[in-house]
Amino acid sequence: MTSESLAEKRTRPGRPLLFISLSALLLLLGIVGSLKWGQAPVSWHGLLGALVGPGDGKTDLYVRLLRLPRALTACMAGAQLALAGLLTQLATRNPLASPHLFGVNAGASFFVVIGLVAIPDFSAPLAVGLAFAGAAAGAILVWSLAGGGRFSPVQLALAGITVHFLLSALTEGMMVLNQQSTDSMIFWLVGSVSQASWQDVRLLSPFLGSSLIFLFALLPSLRLLAVEDEIASGLGQRVAAVRTAAFVLVLLLAGSAVALCGPIGFLCLIVPHISRALVGGKLGALVPMTALLGGALLVCADLASRFIAFPFESPVGIVTSALGAPLFLHLARRRGGTVR
């Protein structure tokens, strides 16, 4: 990865810290903004009251029961998806990779659409369980087709994209053939955090927490993924184990986020690239930057999604693409060939 080492040389020592704190600030502003603005007006005074003590009843309800869990879910899901994207790109050594290559999105969608068609009174908690099971099934399918831990990155990418296409085709087939019961599927497929509750936060936080610990423990070994297989195995026999660990991490991170919020696609692909363009390729800076920026982007996109077609909400997946793509295009244009 010569491009990475180039990017590292260019970054001045203070730069990563600056951008990491900037994106933390953006995340904070986004959370405050999404508590303040929405369909019902909340005054700054009321907001403060709802957060620190007993405010007046109605504002309390809005902020504590609706907006706060929603903002937290968006923040966690964004961070998880972005990290999953980074790990996929490292494991496949392909800049176009995102967790859908591990069959996570398509597997989750497939199981949810089966549930919609086959189970008469299909409820939201059931959808979450099914989606996670589907994500796991998709990932295991890709894993076994790619030949366990010993796959080459190209092999993994091709097996992954094929499984993705297969499962998506089956999902679309179910939708086309069962139009009545699957109309609501469209909204799930676009991705949304608007229904998030404290229960979702409780569900998501152990996933995020455990994966973060796992990820930081793994951080030194992840560097192995960036070098050629021959060199890596020359340094020890751990390549297959590291890839397996990366795989499990992607499943934990992306599987749980997709199960709760639907397949929010573009974020996973683009946030790692934006982060790399800003802080360089060193994993120590790249991982926190990616997590913070992912969270910030999803929180801001969620906030924006409330106003695009006010008073109706637009699915956040759409807004994420609409916000993230121009940002990435700007960076790609400005930095020319160094964004790789």
Partner: protein
Amino acid sequence: MRRTTALAAAFLLMLLLTAVSLRFGAVAVPWRHIGETLLGRPNPSSFVVDKVRLPRIATAVLAGFGLAVSGVILQSLLRNPLASPDVVGVSKGAGFAAAAVLFLYPRAPAFALPAAAFAGAFAAFALLLTLSRRLRLGPAALALVGVAVGAVFQAGTQYLIVRHPTDINLALLWLTGSLWGRSWSHVLLLLPWIAALLPLAWSGFAKLNLLQLTDEVAVSLGLRIVRERLWLILLAVALAGIAVAAVGAIGFVGLVAPHMARRIVGSRHQWLIPLAALLGADLMLLGDVLGRVLIVPREVPVGIMSAVIGAPYFVYLLRKAKDAGARGRTGN
């Protein structure tokens, strides 16, 4: 020798699938009637054969050619095994324009849809050109810019779909790709383009053989890479754009037919391009005929069936090449 065999086999498979497509469907047509229709003699089945199945088959074959060859060019140029007409944003742009026509002008005449889709494909390409400094970016960055452009268009499509939930089915059918109701007018739309562009693409095989190596090698061997790349991407965009305009946004064929071909004849484009084209047509025909006979009288769209059929076969090819996998082309 092996390459000739592969080409001949793919071609024979195409003929066989054509015959099977003519014979089977919601209504089975006797072989005798097919023969008589082809010879121009009147018979009870001539309407089904001549007005329904033949144009459909021709559309499938031509679109399969276009998508597969476009995929070959893009995978070699961008040096990324995940590249396909989707990656340069072309199908997404076409999909957005088509969805806009379907939702916002439901009474537009029939020719408006393919025209809009083609315009959408080129709008996406124009955007890609401006945003990538006329393709002066490296291959990986170029692919990413294409994906970003595509994401913007896809967000637009999803927005339209979510805002018009009543017409979802029509749009969904188009977005997955379908051959339903394709007539001779679609064939006439496709034929001149494909007939002109395919030879042009094939004649670029020597350049593609060099461009799939590194930029440095291509330059040192005397290639003006920026200009050649622009020209070849333009070809790929036109091929994919016209195919998508006729049959809808079929993603799988453009991605996987080139890989199948590459696994069979290797990476030299003089063989790769024709074999990929034939395999693309085979995939389309097979997906179409199975989609028609699976649950009569309903149809499974070809975009779905071709992926359901093609994916297992491709996985088989991948598994078979597992030992040789390390020698495969690496991304980035």
